[in-house]
């Protein structure tokens, strides 16, 4: 028997993931050994330090292009860029998660096991501090996302998918207010997510039957060489795509999105809308660009239909929404459609513009959910749209910020939304996917309507008795808001540096 040795691991290249997994484990340890009073600050500082350390390693390693850990992990331009994006957006989400200024005890329930509506529940809602397990769980989720965008074989990708999904299912169930809604959201997300994972796994098995391996390199080679029946290839790819499109919230796998976005604690909704989207599209890009690029002609029309459907459903249903979180959820579905347009360009431009779009959208959407956490009344966040009427008179500053964010979503020039849409549509046009661009432009115009309706409502209505107050944000939320708004503005006015960065990063290793 020949000697067995560990495959060569480029520890510096995988250090960001190792750091975050380590930090999350230390977080669980702290949860056990630290006294209750010290936990929140320690956990928050630890998680932020870990994220910053991981980000610095990524910046330091920015020139690495390597397949490591036995070919299971690919550290290349897109990986590093998307990992950096996930970490930056993760830091912003963590700032929202950590803030306890708007509500006593924060956005999370102290003890999720206490029966909803019982005497003990009412007591804990007003008195107790939120659970601090959310910090290690968030870090686990972010670490899983980092691995997900770096995974170079389907098996590692599946494990990473589970590692980042499971904490999200849990976090969804931990809202302090409207706990039944939150638990229902978590259950829905979990059941449908498990179902999507099963599809993914089934697809991996079929593709393994076709290619005789799960590495993207092997799959890429066998797409042209294999003598196996292509039924396995197409069925496998379709099922893998179902798993990934579910996470990306693309139609017709989007039905969980509004309910989960609405029920989850708002900071977690921000985390899901920004980071999960980056991770899901990162995985999708690698699967389509690295593994299955040989059958691009076959899957482009089908995914094109999915993209059109996603844009249409997102835009049309956004018009009918009466809840701000559901509105943002449908907007996030529509944005998944625009991202798919960029993905389907299947070119270097398509890759770089999709990555740019992910970052631009992530910054804006976290800021949007940050503002949602501020608009409150005695029962917590006031998310019904009618309650937002007249908010411009109550608090011009935050209404102004939210207006700016909505304009960025709508793709008005001088915001990052415009540049991002311009980039993905341009890439798709160059690749001859004009029909996708037509649908993209039409739905963008349609989608502008619900955004502008909110803007009009905020500024042109008189505040009534029931208009909620806008809380003064704590330092952490304020920081996240500032980062989000400034990034949205800067990427709209001077997008060149980031565009250059995405272009230089847009090369997969195989």
């Amino acid at each position: 028997m020949e000697d067995l040795s560990l495959p060569k691991i480029d520890y510096a290249a995988v250090a960001p993931m190792l750091i975050l997994f380590g930090v999350a484990c230390v977080g669980v340890l702290f949860e056990g050994v630290l006294p209750k009073a010290a936990r929140r600050v320690t956990q928050l500082v630890l998680a932020l330090l870990g994220l910053v350390a991981a980000l610095s390693v990524i910046v330091w390693q920015s020139d690495t292009r390597v397949l490591t850990a036995g070919g299971a992990v690919a550290i290349d331009g897109p990986t590093l860029f998307l990992q950096g994006a996930i970490i930056v957006l993760g830091i912003m989400a963590l700032l929202l998660i950590g803030d306890r200024a708007m509500e006593h005890g924060g956005a999370f329930v102290a003890q999720a096991a206490i029966t909803v509506g019982s005497e003990a529940d009412r007591k804990q809602a007003v008195k107790e501090q939120g659970a601090t397990e959310v910090y290690p769980l968030t870090v686990f989720a972010i670490a899983g996302m980092l691995l997900f965008v770096a995974a170079n074989d389907l098996l590692t990708m599946f494990v990473a998918l589970e590692v980042f999904s499971l904490p999200l299912y849990l976090l969804c169930a931990l809202a302090r207010r409207r706990r039944l809604l939150s638990q229902e959201a978590a259950l829905k997300y979990f059941l449908l997510g498990a179902y999507a994972s099963a599809f993914f796994l089934f697809g991996v098995a079929l593709v393994y039957g076709f290619a005789g391996g799960v590495e993207f390199g092997t799959i890429h080679d066998s797409v042209t060489e294999s003598t196996q029946s292509t039924v396995l290839l197409y069925a496998g790819l379709a099922m893998i795509a179902i798993g990934l499109l579910f996470k990306a919230a693309a139609a017709p796998f989007h039905v969980w999105t509004p309910d989960v976005y609405q029920g989850a604690p708002t900071p977690i909704t921000g985390l899901m809308a920004a980071c999960t989207k980056v991770a899901a599209f990162g995985g999708l890009l690698r699967v389509l660009y690295v593994g299955f690029d040989g059958v691009a002609w076959d899957y482009t029309p089908i995914l094109g239909v999915v993209a059109v459907l996603t844009m249409l459903i997102g835009a049309v249903l956004a018009v009918t929404q009466t809840d701000i979180k559901r509105l943002l959820a449908y907007s996030s579905i529509a944005n998944a459609g625009y991202l798919l347009v960029g993905v389907l360009a299947l070119s270097k431009d398509g890759l770089s513009s999709t990555m740019f779009y992910l970052v631009a959208y992530g910054f804006t959407v976290i800021a949007a959910f940050g503002v949602v956490t501020l608009v409150r009344d005695a029962d917590g966040e006031a998310t019904h749209l009618s309650r937002w009427a007249g908010l411009g008179r109550r608090s011009p500053l935050y209404a102004g910020i939210f207006t700016f964010i909505l304009l960025a979503f709508a793709g008005i020039p001088l915001t990052s939304g415009f540049i991002a849409k311009f980039a993905v549509f341009g890439a798709a046009l160059d690749s001859g996917e004009a029909w996708l661009v037509v649908f993209g432009v039409v739905t963008s115009m349609l989608l502008a309507f619900p955004y502008l309706r909110v803007v009009v409502m905020m500024w042109l209505s008189e505040p009534g008795e029931s208009t909620p107050t806008v809380s003064i944000p704590g330092g952490l939320t304020a920081a996240a808001l500032v980062i989000g708004v400034v990034a949205t503005l800067v990427l709209g006015v001077a997008p060149a540096p980031l565009l250059d960065l995405t272009t230089s990063a847009a090369d997969f290793v195989r």
Partner: protein, 125 residues
């Protein structure tokens, strides 16, 4: 009885033999026993200290048992990984590397037990 499946043939025969013994014993019992069934009222009812059963037989379990069951599953899954490790780690060529790998794996899972212990999940209340 050679080859891969041959090694399972013995097991199959054993299973078959046990089925035969089981069925044979019960059939013999049925054939040989005297049969004089009486059906007084209440013969087939649960009877304990004179309280007649009412309602269903379904009792709701406490959720705390779920946590124990869950921890058990966790370590059953761990055992699945431990087993291949246990058969190979002293083979030439494996050795220290696999020991370290498994040590990390087990250490991370041990954190779960530590957490449970500190949260007083393991103490009966």
């Amino acid at each position: 009885m050679a080859g891969y499946l041959g090694s399972y043939a013995t097991l199959g025969l054993l299973l078959l033999a046990s089925v035969v013994v089981f069925v044979g014993a019960f059939s013999a019992n049925r054939l040989l026993r005297p049969a004089s069934p009486a059906e007084p009222i209440g013969k087939r009812e649960t009877y304990e200290c004179g309280v007649d059963p009412v309602g269903g037989d379904w009792a709701q379990a406490q959720i705390r048992y779920y946590v124990y069951a869950y921890l058990y599953v966790l370590f059953a899954v761990e055992a699945v990984f431990l087993f291949p490790w246990a058969v190979i780690f002293d083979r030439p060529g494996f050795g220290a590397t696999t020991v370290v790998e498994m040590a990390i794996f087990v250490a991370v899972l041990a954190l779960g037990i530590l957490y449970a212990w500190r949260k007083r999940i393991l103490t009966w209340t």
